[in-house]
Assembly symmetry: C2
Homo-oligomer: 338 residues x 2
Amino acid sequence: MKKPTIVDIAKRASVSVGTASNVMNRRPVVSKALVERVEAAAAELGYNRNTLAASLRSSRTGVIALVVPNIENAFFSEVLQEIENLALDSEKSVMFMTTGEDEARTRRHLQAIISRRVDGLIIVPAFDYQPALAELERYGIPIVVADRISQKNPFPSVSVDHKAAGEMAGRHLLEIGARDVVYFGHSRPDYWILKQRKDGFSAALANQPEQVSVRSFSLSLDVFVGKEQALTALKALDKPPQAIFAASNLASKSVLPALQAKGWSIPGDTRFLAMDDFEALTMMQPGISVISQPSAQIASQAWQKLMHLIDGEEAGENALLQPELIVRGSTPVIAASA
Amino acid sequence: MKKPTIVDIAKRASVSVGTASNVMNRRPVVSKALVERVEAAAAELGYNRNTLAASLRSSRTGVIALVVPNIENAFFSEVLQEIENLALDSEKSVMFMTTGEDEARTRRHLQAIISRRVDGLIIVPAFDYQPALAELERYGIPIVVADRISQKNPFPSVSVDHKAAGEMAGRHLLEIGARDVVYFGHSRPDYWILKQRKDGFSAALANQPEQVSVRSFSLSLDVFVGKEQALTALKALDKPPQAIFAASNLASKSVLPALQAKGWSIPGDTRFLAMDDFEALTMMQPGISVISQPSAQIASQAWQKLMHLIDGEEAGENALLQPELIVRGSTPVIAASA
DNA sequence: CTGTTAGCGCGTTCAA
DNA sequence: TTGAACGCGCTAACAG
């Protein structure tokens, strides 16, 4: 079956292709009568616009690329869902790609983004990404960086105040009365936000009237390895710390199983606070208290910024959203021991 | 900065555009010397192929659409990740869309799929989808249906043997000695696979030497509503059943919290078996036993079928993959009571 | 093996 | 408002 083109529609409606094109693009320059005639003709012929041809001509594809490290992390899948909703509202489509925290893979994706003439990119980068993204700029493809910004991030960005998140965590543990805490994080010097969290956490616990003991451990980004590392760390302790802070999604997934293996219960033996919410934290018994990142807000603000950039406007100030403390059953107040 | 076109490359390399095109498409008809010259020219000018133009001309976009009900469900996100991997290997891009189990939304997505001239579609449908998909066929867009097939599914499909899954569940509960079981499912007559699961479950428990009591409850697809319904159902029981089977991801998310609210422990008060694995089931204490669907296999077989269809070949027999029983701590054998 | 050229379907002119 | 002509960048087909 031959697909009808805009020329066929124009003929059928007895108008020029120019007029038909104006109707398709909802340009308010065509008389109402003609609009109806064209639309009727399109419906009769089962016309379906060839976006490809339109894009080639207008050099706007209506496609947005979303690049995230992976999709297993609930935070990223929430961002994806939200972006997909926003795209549908704007009649855009989203091209989805994962970096796998891998530079070569990302490079291939960025290449595709350029050659497909994607209108814009929202990326949660996984490493020192500036050189790779610079190439996109050469092609005039707007970029918004979400969540993981680096210290000297040159792109419009929407992120969470990770330092505040760390502080929030520290303060909460202080408030429940913990004076002996363990911090599980990761030591990737290229992830500035992890350093931010830790700095915030340390700052909150420093210079307290009562001395607070903080021990820190760095875990692998591989959950299985991380669990073993966490277990080793726990075994080296003579008794459970009063509280544990897992400074990332992955840290939680490593430390919680390690605690189970070690046989220390929450909140009986130790309090537990997590960074970055995900479903398992809500379903566990007791629920795990968490510092949560506002994924939907991040997505929608990133989207807005990108739309502005695509329209040739300014993206505006970089956004730094506030995290939220969600208290569940894992961090009750510690009774003062005699 | 003006983007170089293939004409510029051809000029720079002193070859014809046809030859340059052949090099870009890795067609093995160009002499090695020229290939090198063209590639050098492309590198020097920072050439980036305009896939849009190529697609318009060749009517192949190299874009695959993946349409799933949502992304929160771990099963779908695993499928997405796998598809994305496969796409990268084949230098294709994936357009991602969710139906939200909503027909109007899906229709809009399918419209976009057509007008963007996507090469093929892998869909996990959410309702009686045949009329909507028929339109795609008119446009010659190959379709592979994954996971949720309907009884009379006319499209090439890759699914799980949901009846076998139900049987597997029933048999496992039988084997651990349960004679008094509760089944939590959903009653959506348009979801054939849910009926299949239940039929399989019932079949496994019927005609046993010892009579097995099976009580069934239908839950809403909304988890919060479902939890309340499950709680009401549990409260109506005078004592915990020996075993519970939650026949879907959503059912688990409803029933597990309801059990906590009711105060019945697993596996102390009742055994628990789930259908469809997700992370929280592994992290809970004890881990929840589950009938798992092979998401990666589903994705890769769907991909293969789609590639065949795109190449104009037969998709081959519809695939019906076998589910897998993963025994964790929630279904220990029930000691015979005196 | 390489060169030439028409045209994929649409959007944008510009004169009428 | 209209209509015709051109070109976006590339590939297919064919000629050499």
